[in-house]
Every structure is written in C-alpha cells, then in structure tokens.
Symmetry: C2
Subunit: 586 residues, 2 copies
C-alpha cells in the first residue's frame, strides 16, 4: 500500500523562491508568517497528512460513505481524522482573524490544502467546501449571518456545502428551479439539488448549506437567482442548536472515485420547507457564487497537483522495488528501464509544473487581497482571473495522464485495487469535471479572460514571462531550456493574434478553446519551470534538490512542451471539419 | 444506460473496401465467404451482440464474478449468453474445419470479435482466451492432444486459458518457477500462476489450461520453459470427463475494471499435483507462446477499437439528449457545442483509425496463412509482425483517451457509475497493460521489428503507403488530407534514419521507443484514413457514410496527426534528461 510523504522541499522552494512568500506576507501585513513559523506549519501539516490522514485513503475508498434513513455516515476513521484536523486549526488557516482564523496567506494555506488532498482527496473536499462557504458569507452576508455561522465554520466545528446543481441545471445555472418563499424573517426553500459534495455526514453536529434558489418575483435566467444560507439545524439566538431543518440527503451517488466523499442528492422542503436566510441582495446569488469561483477552481486545480504528486510517489516506490528482467542499465528495479524512467519523469515534470502554476496563481490571490494601491490590486485580480482557468483546466487534465501513467508503471498490479494506484486514477477523473469542466475553463480563458479583456491581462503576463526569460538567458547552463521556451513563446504570440482575428467567429473560438487552454498550460508550465531552473542552476552544488529541479525542467521541455506545437498545429485549422457531420449522422 | 449497435457500415467498409475481403477469401481458398454470407454473418452477430450480450454489460460490472470454495461463478446472465454464443458457432468461426471450425478469414472473425468486445469486454475475454489455446494446440501439440481437446474447444463446449504470469515473472517470463515432474504418460504440475483470465468459471463443464512450467532438467532462463495442457477435469479415452484435476482457483482479484472477467490466482498441485501433458518439445514452451502472441496482441488491440466504439456511441447519444444552455449553433443538445463536437469527433477519428489498423493487420494474418508463394507469405508475416505492436499499443492507448473523453462528454453524470460511461474507462485501463504493456510493444517495434529486421518490413510498408498516397493525390477534394499525410511521412522517414543512427545506444532506443510507437500509430492511422477517404470521396453523393468518412479522416489530420510532430520533437532529444536524476533521489 502506498505511503505519502509531503513534498516539503518542493513546496518550500515554490513558496520561498518561486512566489516569494516573505514578500506576500509583508504585502498582506501578516508578521506571524516568518520563515520559522512557516517551516513549523509545513512540517506539522506534513506529519498530520502523511501519518494520520494518508493511511486512511485506501480503506476509505473501499468502504465508501454510508447512507441510511436520510443520513450519511462518513467512512470509518474520517470522523477522528477530522477532529485532529480541526484541533490543529488547519481549516481556518487563511480565514480572517476576526472570526477565529489565522489570516495566513492563501498560498500558504494552499500548500496545506495540497497536502490534505494528496493524503485523502475525498476527505479534503469537506474542508474545501467549508472554505468556499466561509468566503461567500464573509464577502456577502449580513453581520447577523456572519456572527451566527462564521465562528464555528472557521474553527471547523461546522462544515459548509455549496448547492448549485439541479438535474437540468449543471453548467447552465440559468435553468435552476429551486424556489424560496418568504416566511417571517427568512424563507422556505423547496427543491432538489444534486451532486452536493459532503451534503450530509456525521463528523460535525451542524452543516451550513449555501443554496441557490429563485424568489417568487424572480426574473427568468441567471439574473433571478438568489443565495440562501440553509443550516441543517437551526441556530438559536444563544448559538445553541435548535430544530432539525427540512434539508436532508435523499441519496448518495455510486461514483467512479472519491468514494469516501458523499455526493448527495439534497432534498430541501420535502415537508414544511427548509428555513433559509438570504445572503446579500435578492437575485444576485450567481454573482456571489462567481466571486468565489476563482478560489474554488484554484482549489480543484490544487487537487490536480495533489493527486499527481501522490501517484508519482507511489509509482517511484513501486518502480524501485519491482524487479523484472535485466535492464539496459543493469540489474535492479524497473526504475532502471528507460521507458519506465520516461514515465516517471513525465509524471514528475507535469506535477512540478502544475504546482508552480497553482502556487503562482494563489500568490496572486494574496496580492489581490493585499493593501496595495488600486492599480496593483486590479492588476493582481486580472492575473488571478487569467491564470485560474489554466490552473484548473490544465492541472486537472494533466492529473488524468499522471495518474494513468502511475497505473501503467505498476503493470498488471496497477489494475488491482489493492495496490492503490487505480484509486488515484479513479479519484482524479472528477477533477476536470467539477467546478466547471475543462470545456468551461477553456471557454472562460479564450472568451472572458483573453478576448473580452482585450488581451490586457495576457499582455501583462507575457511581459513578466519575457522578463523571466531574459533573466534565465543569463544562466548559460540552461540555454537548452531557455531556447525551447523562447521558441514556444514566439509561437504562442502568433496564436494569440490568430485568436484575435477570429474572435468574432463563435464556432472558431469554441472549437479551438480547449486546445488553446492546454497549449497555455504547456507554455506557462515551461515558463515557471524555466524560472525555477534559473534559480536552481547556480545552486546545483549546494543541494541535489536544485540539480534535480533543473533536470525536471529539462524533461518538461523535452517530453511535454513539444505538445504545444501539436496543439498550435491543430488550432491553425480553426474549427476545421469538426462540425461537418450532421448531428443525426454522428 | 447505454445501448450498443454494431457499427456494421464501417465494419463492412473496412472489410470490403479497405482490406478487400473477397481477395482474402480467394487467397485462403474459402468460397463460403461470399458477400451475402458475410453480410448475414455480420447482421446476426450484430444482433446477438447488440440485443443479448450488450445489455448485460453494466449489471455484470456491478455484480462481478463470484468466488467461493476454490470455484468461480460467472456474473448473472453470462452463462446463458455464452450458451447462445456457442450455439451460434461464434467461437469457431475462423478455426480449422478439421476440428469443427468454419475456416473463415481471421479478419472476418476479428470483426465479430470487435462486436463481442464492444458488447461486453469482460465476457469476450473468455472466447478470446479459448482461441489462443486452440491455436497453440493446433500448431504445436500431438495428434492425441488435438483429438482430445480441440473439438470441444472449437465448439466452445470447453473453454481455454493461458497460464504464464507468476508473481515474480510478469513481463520477464524467464523468471518462471512452476515445476513439471514426469508421472506416467504425463507430468505433475506444481506452482502458482497469477492474473489468469477466466481461470475458472461455471459456464462450461471443463476448462483447458495451458501452463508454462519447468521440467526437472530444464536449463535456466527462457530456454528452459515447457508448455503443458492441464485440464480442469481429466478426459477419459472415450471423451467423457474423468477425475477433477488438482488445478484450482485460489482467489480472484478485485480490479479497477472488467469485473465480470474473473482474474484468478491459479493453484496447480496443492494436493497431489495437477496432471499435465507436454505440448510439442520440452523447453520450447516460450517459442510456442510467442507464436500465438501476435494474434493475442491483435485481439487486445481489437479490444481497444471495441471499447472506443462503445464509448463513442454512448457519448454521442448522451450529447444529443442532454440540453445545457444555449449553444453557438442554437438551441438543442450539447452536441451543438463546438467543444463537445471536438471531443466526439476526436473519439470517432481515433476509433476509425484504430479499426482500420486492426483490420489491416488481421487481413495480413490471413495472407500469411494463405496458399501464396513462399516469398509472399514471408512478406505477409513480416507485415503482421510490424503492424502488431502498433495495432496493440496505439489502439489501446487511444482507447484510454477515447473512453476518458466519453466520460468528459457526460460531465458530472460520467462520474456516476449508473451512467455506464465510467465503466468503459475502467474496463479500457487494462488494455495497454495485458498481453505486453505499451512499453513492451514499443520495445518490440523499435527493436525487433525495425532495427533487428534492418528496416525490411518498414521499407515494404512505406512503399505501400506511398502507393496509396499517390493514388489519393489523384483525388483533388482531399488535397488537404494528402498533403498532411505527405508531410508526416517525410518527417517519419527522417526519424527512421535517426533511429538507425542511434540503434546501438540502448538508452536512446529505450527512451524513444514509446514515443516512436505512438508516432507510428498516428502516421499509420492517417495513412489508412487517407486511403479510406480516397475511396470514399468519389462516392460522397451515393451515401452519407462516404461523406462522413472523408470528414473523419480530415478531423484525424487536424486534431490527432499533429501530435506526430510533438512526438517527433520529443524523439529528437533522444534520452535527453530522463535518466539524469539518480534513482534514490526520484
């Protein structure tokens, strides 16, 4: 069975040398996060995740969540793990101190998120959903709602959920039908939601649901959707728990992966109606949801990093132990076979590139929240907006390949569930789907983040990339890397022009969007690994880590960056023939 | 739940127009296979697979095979399906008439194999294994063994298995430890085998195991392995069943997919020793096994085609029905979204290219068996040998992508097991592993089939491709396709020279092998779809099928063939940096 050791060295490298955590800390005005404290936080999180949470991963997958009598029971062991998690204060790491959080940078809590996700992806979804819930309430709800719900959400005594999807309304939230009828100081909610992650469980004594619903006078479409807080148990004025609310899990799904994460069908108001409390203004719910979307998407992108990291670690261990035939590099484990090494290094390069993209995006979130001048804030917000669809789309698509390679390295044993490699692939499979499919990310990138933005954020990004390239070009040992990156950048800029020229052609844009999103991932991944290699190359004698960082960047340029050329070629055909077969003849 | 309709039109096109079945039939001297009979066979197989076998696919996956008291029970419904399958004579379609087979071409039985595999991959493995067993016995066993076992194997009254792998001997069969000790006119077999597909079940009253084992005087390594027939029940002289042999399933594996295919740990000789009978000469077992390997590998390659086809059909149906938002092409199913169409057409192009590669390879098997002159036979054998690793490696790797896209098209519903899309991806995951991993296929292609062959078979293939290209270049409407293929061929030939120059460098060869194998698949796939488009283009007014064939070839060139360029770029680095990180620092 697989072990997990938090990749603290690479995490520290990304925090300290790629995104400059010290600067981030200064910017957000948090003086607690000096290097020693950060180090202690990372070590302790690594211990908790590696020693307590990770060992439950396989058994939780096999057992899954339980369901009976409209109630979910968490997979064995998770309740205890969750207790340890909240006792350590790990849920409220970057939440506001005003409500009990520690106000640490997002990029730092992101690194803890990564570890939790690697340790047990299904489990990690529960605190992640709470975070989203906390953010929505913090940003948009009344003081009364904040005071009632935030403190216990921040400590993790309660968990939160997001109730968006209905059977007819997935990617298209305009189709939502759940109703909210005024009742006293609140509303009665009636409707059914599906795909509600951790919609019910027995790890805490209350669960706070955020629910999208329509008021009686709501206009049709996306502008008629409001957001409500619907607690599982009503909260009395003194903070104690009151009546059971009419919000129940109706069933849980039988899924391909993340078995220990109960995916609920939620029934609101099957009896007298579920009491709900309006968040912010009526009809503005979708705006509130979208304001959290970037963060939620970055959280899922981080899941891509996390599951890739775990699959990589497991494949490496197996490849060292498994002896099979004489290799061209002599007797030993299959790790000596060049083809196995190619797989492992591809996994590693994809994982490290994904990590750098995610940490860079999360650091930009911190900058956007920091007390910078308005222009710098706006710029940081644009950067977050631009990076997010790639951080989510590319890192999760890559995680499919990385976890699949993880199975492949195991050979026949990879297909046997006992080994655990298959679980990573099954778990990863949801990542390019939830929080906006890859197609949605791609449309967001090419449409909203590039074309509608008139390329402003992209131009800013390319300037930064070019600066990093120029710096890296000073480091002669990585000339092969910088020349590969330079070539891909030239190609990339040409494509950006093509997109502009075809921006009015919805079919062209829709057809090329995913290829462009993936292409951006390869180019940006190469940029950040080049940047890392430029930092690492002069320190290669200091520590093997730095030498290996340069090597990994090189492998990325050899095995992964060439795909940018294939994607560019595909894009050059535009929609090509993909719409040519009539629908009924497909 | 997904339905399956056999893609008879594309199968007929491949049989009649791509590989010229009529010529194949004449060559093998089978006059029964005139177009009407072929048509009737295909229709009936399509009906059986679509109406009887396919509907069991999901329930069999959910139920899985049962195991208790050293015995396996097939998943509910399969015993009846198997009865219908053998009553129709579908098992012995291309087997020798001497033992009750119908002597039809392999490429025709291959098309039936495809349908069975699409209908229920787990089920289809049982007759496929029997076929391998029949072939080994036919080619290498004594008349006594043939007469005892073949008739009932050919009718399907008994099934066959292949027992190669042991815990320490997977890809490396030299490490086999199972022993065979002389006893009377036979041997007593002692040892444990793992990963034995359909190693036990209750669908027939006997099972014939082929087992690799070592004789007491066997030399070490691959040249000391012999092949034995080990029946589940001994067979009396009059053909009736005798004693239960000491060959039992010890357990079955809990796998990621193909749940209805029992993957057994087989215990031979836990008590008094399992009676076994030597096939052919002592110490020559591995040669016998390898003689069947091409066919078995083509069978698995066909599974790639089959599972891709089924995933494609299901994704198309879902995309037509699922409405989600206004699309750029108007109101309707998500099939109208260009990005969804891109996914569907990529699936379709990969599936059709895979099918053409497989059918071409299987027709070459028929030519190799036909009464041609020795030179033509040798050439056909070389062709089979060359095509096989790509037919197996590429078609199964593509099936991972196609089935994953199938899930993606379904969005969140794809992750729910009820939908059936996830099953295809889980089932497909074993295909690039068993019967030789992708790495093994790649090493076979670059090493044995190209370098060791001094490029003879490859040169012959390229001549044929060039002829087809010249013919296709006459068809002006597909000039875009032919120019893409021509460019990729030039690039491909350059790489073949690179490989020759680096042929002595085992690390270079081992590092580039998989990229070269995948590259070959893209180039050969483009060749065969170009050939198909050239046939189809002049008939576009006749039938939409022909128009759509041209379109699919075009999409292949736009969305998939560009990857050949990426792979070529990666190959240009040779081993690059992939071996540079010391094993212990990975």
């Amino acid at each position: 069975m697989s072990d997990y050791r938090a990749p603290l060295r690479d995490i520290r490298f990304n925090l300290e040398e790629v995104v400059d955590l010290a600067e981030v800390c200064t910017a957000i005005g948090n003086e607690d996060c000096d290097p020693e404290i950060v180090s202690a936080i990372l070590e302790e999180a690594g211990r908790l995740c590696g020693e307590e949470i990770a060992p439950l991963n396989h058994s939780c997958d096999q057992a899954g969540a339980g369901f009976a009598d409209r109630a979910v029971t968490a997979a064995p062991g998770l309740k205890g793990a969750y207790q340890h998690f909240i006792e350590g204060g790990w849920g409220g790491l970057s939440e506001s101190p005003e409500f009990g959080g520690q106000g640490l940078p997002k990029v730092l809590s992101g690194s803890i998120q990564e570890m939790t996700q690697s340790a047990n992806l299904a489990f990690s979804l529960c605190p992640m959903l709470s975070q989203g819930c906390i953010e929505a309430i913090t940003l948009h709800a009344s003081d009364e709602i904040k005071n009632t719900y935030l403190p216990k959400l921040v400590t993790g005594e309660w968990t939160g959920t997001m109730n968006l999807t209905e059977p007819q309304a997935g990617s298209d939230l305009a189709a939502i039908r759940t109703k909210a009828e005024p009742d006293g100081d609140g509303y009665r909610i009636f409707g059914q939601k599906i795909f509600i992650t951790w919609g019910d469980h027995d790890m805490t004594d209350n669960i706070i649901h955020l629910v999208l619903a329509r008021l009686p006078d709501a206009p049709a479409g996306v502008k008629g959707i409001s957001l409500f807080v619907v607690p599982k148990y009503l909260v009395n004025e003194d903070g104690s728990l009151g009546e059971r609310n009419d919000a129940y899990a109706a069933s849980i799904e039988h899924k391909m992966g993340i078995h220990a994460s109960p995916t609920c069908v939620m029934a609101f108001g099957d009896d007298e109606g579920a009491m709900g409390y309006l968040v912010g203004e009526p009809h503005n719910g979708l705006v509130y949801m979208f304001s959290m979307m970037n963060n939620a998407r970055l959280g899922v992108g981080m899941q891509g990093v996390a599951i890739s990291e775990r699959a990589y670690q497991q494949a490496v261990e197996y490849a060292k132990e498994r002896v099979q035939g004489m290799t061209v590099s002599g007797q030993g484990g299959i790790v000596k076979h060049p083809d196995v090494r190619r797989m492992l290094m591809t996994m590693r390069a994809a994982t490290e590139a994904s990590r750098s993209i995610l940490y860079t995006a999360m650091a930009a979130v911190d900058e956007a929240h920091a007390g910078l001048d308005a222009e710098a804030k706006a710029r940081a917000n644009r950067r977050v907006a631009l990076l997010t669809p790639v951080a989510k789309g590319w890192a999760t698509e890559m995680s499919l390949e990385v976890t699949s390679l993880g199975v492949q390295v195991h050979g026949g044993m990879g297909f046997i569930e006992e080994t655990g490699a298959a679980q990573h692939q099954r778990d990863a499979r949801i990542l390019p789907i939830y929080e906006g499919t890859t197609g949605i990310q791609a449309a967001d990138l090419i449409g909203r983040k590039y074309l509608r933005d008139n390329g402003v954020a992209m131009t800013e990004l390319l300037e930064d990339i070019k600066q990093d390239l120029e710096k890296a070009q000073q480091v002669v040992e990585i000339a092969d890397i910088t020349s590969a990156v330079a070539a891909s950048l030239t190609r990339y800029q040409g494509l950006l022009e093509d997109i502009k020229s075809n921006g009015q052609d919805a079919i062209w844009v829709g057809s090329t969007a995913t290829n462009f999103m993936m292409l951006s991932g390869y180019v940006w991944g190469a940029w950040l690994l080049m940047k890392s290699a430029a930092i690492a190359a002069p320190k290669q004698q200091q520590e093997p880590f730095y030498r290996n960082k340069v090597t990994t960047a090189r492998v990325f340029c050899e095995q992964l960056l060439p795909r940018a050329e294939a994607l560019a070629l595909s894009m050059s055909y535009g929609a090509g023939a993909i719409m040519d077969i009539p629908e009924e003849e497909l």
